[in-house]
């Protein structure tokens, strides 16, 4: 480790003041930069490297053979079900992002502009509290709500709307999306709220004063300025939805198998680590591309508030 004892700061023979100051700066830099660099290297660079290494190899029964073949990557795009499942995952991820934003926006809006301070704190807490409970528990909860013996069916039968339990609620893309939206909406709420909170009230006053109706204030001022928050939230909810594997297992059916489930199967059941690594890398690359685009858009719509 660097030595930060006091005598480090004493000038050595013939050293100019500027040089000494720069030398001290370098030491300080090293002190702060080293730990994150180390962390990044050990937990990011090395795993990515290993992923890449595995993806180029092949497996014979359970024995891994290193190699330099792009075969696995070709398989991702040419062999079913990989590409199809990836697209389905993207679709469900997109649904998650869109519905989370739609559901989260009004709440974020209320919190940012209308809630009194005490209510704001309370609602904020309510948004976060579900995260104290395990994600698994919450996914299970939806199973008991949507199932044939579940609350929804019981209510519908009780109300005389249907005669026998409906099976359309569970084990399909709808139930997976619903569960994902339910679980990840807080991320949309918080990121939209953070953006709305930055909008100066004087802009709203100015719009009202110019003769705008409440709807016009929203459409012409508030909404355009909140787009970066929507995008930031959407990136999070999309990523979480896209990579999820619990909801498909618990409330999904064969039609809603997602890419993470495939990867888990390849790793744990088929022992095809190279294939799993290749899919992982493709997903990561797609994710990077998506985040870059979202980032670019966020900057385009982010104005100095």
């Amino acid at each position: 480790m660097t030595d930060l004892t006091a005598d480090t700061y004493l000038p050595s023979e013939g050293e100019s003041g500027l040089k000494r100051a720069k030398r001290i700066d370098r030491r300080r830099m090293l002190f702060w930069v080293l730990p994150p660099t180390l962390w990044f290297f050990v937990f990011m660079i090395i795993p990515y490297g290993m992923l890449f290494y595995y993806s180029l190899g092949s497996v014979d029964y359970v024995t891994f053979t290193p190699g330099l073949s792009p075969a696995n990557f070709i398989k991702v795009f040419t062999t079913e079900p990989y590409l199809g499942v990836m697209l389905l995952s993207a679709k469900l991820g997109l649904f998650t992002a869109i519905f989370s934003a739609i559901i989260g926006y009004p709440l974020a809006f209320y919190l940012a502009f209308h809630a009194p301070e005490t209510v704001k704190r309370f609602v904020y807490l309510l948004v976060i509290v579900p995260w104290w409970a395990s994600y698994l528990v919450k996914a299970y909860a939806w199973k008991t709500i949507l199932g044939t013996g579940g609350i929804l069916n019981t209510m519908l039968i009780g109300a005389g709307i249907i005669d026998e339990p409906l099976t359309i609620f569970l084990y399909n893309q709808f139930s997976v999306t619903l569960t994902l939206v339910y679980i990840f909406t807080p991320f949309a709420v918080l990121s939209i709220y953070a953006q709305l909170e930055r909008i100066p009230t004087s802009l709203i006053d100015a719009a009202l004063n110019a003769g705008a109706t409440r709807w016009e204030v929203f459409r012409k001022v508030v909404f355009p300025l909140s787009i970066p928050g929507i995008l930031a939230g959407a990136v999070i909810t999309f990523s979480l939805g896209f990579g999820d594997f619990v909801a498909p297992v618990l409330v999904g059916g064969p039609s809603s198998l997602m890419i993470s489930n495939i990867v888990i199967n390849l790793l744990g059941v088929a022992f095809d680590w190279p294939m799993a690594a290749a899919i992982g890398l493709v997903v990561i690359t797609l994710g990077l591309a998506l985040i870059s685009v979202a980032h670019y858009l966020e900057h385009r719509f982010q104005h100095r508030l």
């Binding site: 006053d205 009202l208 004063n209 003769g211 705008a212 001022v221």
Partner: protein
């Protein structure tokens, strides 16, 4: 009946809090330039926001041409505001900011797209921003932003324009230039301007009438000249150009003159009477009306004091003269520099330039 009538306006921002506006009565004529003047927290901005409909008063009423508009929606009022922090929409260009009002439902159909375009040009010209229409607000300087905000407020030709400390965040030279600009536009358009500021110099320079406020109440409403020469209370006297205000006791009133004994025993004669002998009063003297004298001058009040401080102000010098005991200090403006600090000086002031103020 006046154009705008404010009656018993009261507004508090929470139960138990001192009201921000505490029963204000004010009438404003069409085409007037009226300034609400006071230090921060005096209720001037709240009053302005009530007029604009951005705050709902607790009680009282605001009449426009005799019609009660107290609780109308802000968008229903034909008045536009220029905000202290400009409040330009950061997602729109300057031209789109200026045109914001014209493109609202309220004004839809009133102008053809060509007319809208022409008006944007006209109003950008009016505020000298013709070359900046395509820029975003953050690319403009503070003064330019404020001019854009002004154009946005004027473009729908409102009958009333409200200004909430619009020049507060500009530097001194720019502020002066903008004051002249706003005055020019007021003369050119002949609309009613209601202006809020804490800067008494700005208020004096621009207004037809000044409304001096303190603690949510109005202290005095008068023309700048009258407010300067004849403030109606000590607060107004001190607030407007830092008048010298000393307190004293009336010793006698005779022959249209009142004699007041100051804290250090010196006697000051002033024009006017009506205050009973023995009562405590304030006496006001403007710094530019006091002279440093070599010796006694006929018909003038002579005051002795000690020269405590000297400030060079460019066009003049300001001297601070301490009176003996607890009598207080006087500020004196002079062109010439008297002898060194710490010495005794003699001041002369005409009885006509000394005003009696209620305590």
């Amino acid at each position: 009946m006046s154009y705008i009538d404010i009656r018993k306006l009261r507004k508090s921002y929470g139960a138990g809090l001192k009201p921000a506006v505490d029963g204000i009565d004010l009438s404003i004529d069409r085409g007037e330039f009226v300034t609400l003047l006071g230090s921060s927290g005096c209720g001037k901005t709240t009053t302005l926001r009530c007029i604009a409909g951005l705050e709902r008063p607790d009680s009282g009423e605001i009449l426009l041409d005799g019609k009660d508009i107290t609780y109308d929606q802000p968008s229903e009022r034909d008045m536009r505001m220029v905000f202290q922090d400009y409040a330009l929409f950061p997602n729109l260009t300057i031209a789109d900011n200026v045109a914001f009002g014209l493109r609202l439902k309220r004004y839809r159909g009133r102008y053809t797209p060509e007319q809208v375009k022409r008006r944007i040009g006209e109003y950008l010209d009016l505020v000298h921003l013709a070359d900046h229409g395509g820029k975003k607000p953050h690319q403009l300087s503070g003064g330019q932003k404020q001019r854009a905000a002004l154009a946005r407020a004027l473009i729908t030709e409102p009958d009333i324009v409200l200004f909430d400390e619009p020049l507060g965040s500009l530097d001194a030279n720019l502020r002066k230039a903008m004051q002249i600009e706003i005055k020019r536009i007021h003369r050119q358009l002949g609309k009613t301007f209601i202006y809020v500021t804490h800067d008494q110099e700005e208020a004096m320079a621009m207004s037809d009438r000044i409304v001096v406020m303190n603690g949510g109440r109005i202290l005095q409403v008068a023309s700048p000249e009258e407010i300067y020469a004849a403030p109606n209370c000590q607060f107004v006297a001190r607030f407007i150009d830092r008048a010298n205000v000393l307190s004293g006791i009336v010793v006698s009133t005779e022959g249209g003159q009142t004699q007041v004994r100051l804290g250090d025993g010196q006697i000051l004669r002033c024009e006017g009477n009506g205050v009973a002998a023995g009562s405590t009063v304030g006496v006001m003297m403007r710094a530019d009306r006091i002279n440093i004298a070599g010796g006694p001058v006929d018909g003038m009040n002579m005051l002795k004091g000690m020269l405590a401080e000297r400030l060079f102000l460019g066009a003049k010098h300001e001297f601070v003269v301490d009176l003996a005991g607890e009598a207080g200090q006087l500020n004196v403006f002079e062109q010439e520099m008297p002898d060194g600090l710490g010495g005794e000086v003699m001041l002369s002031v005409s009885p006509q330039d000394v005003r009696l103020l209620a305590e």
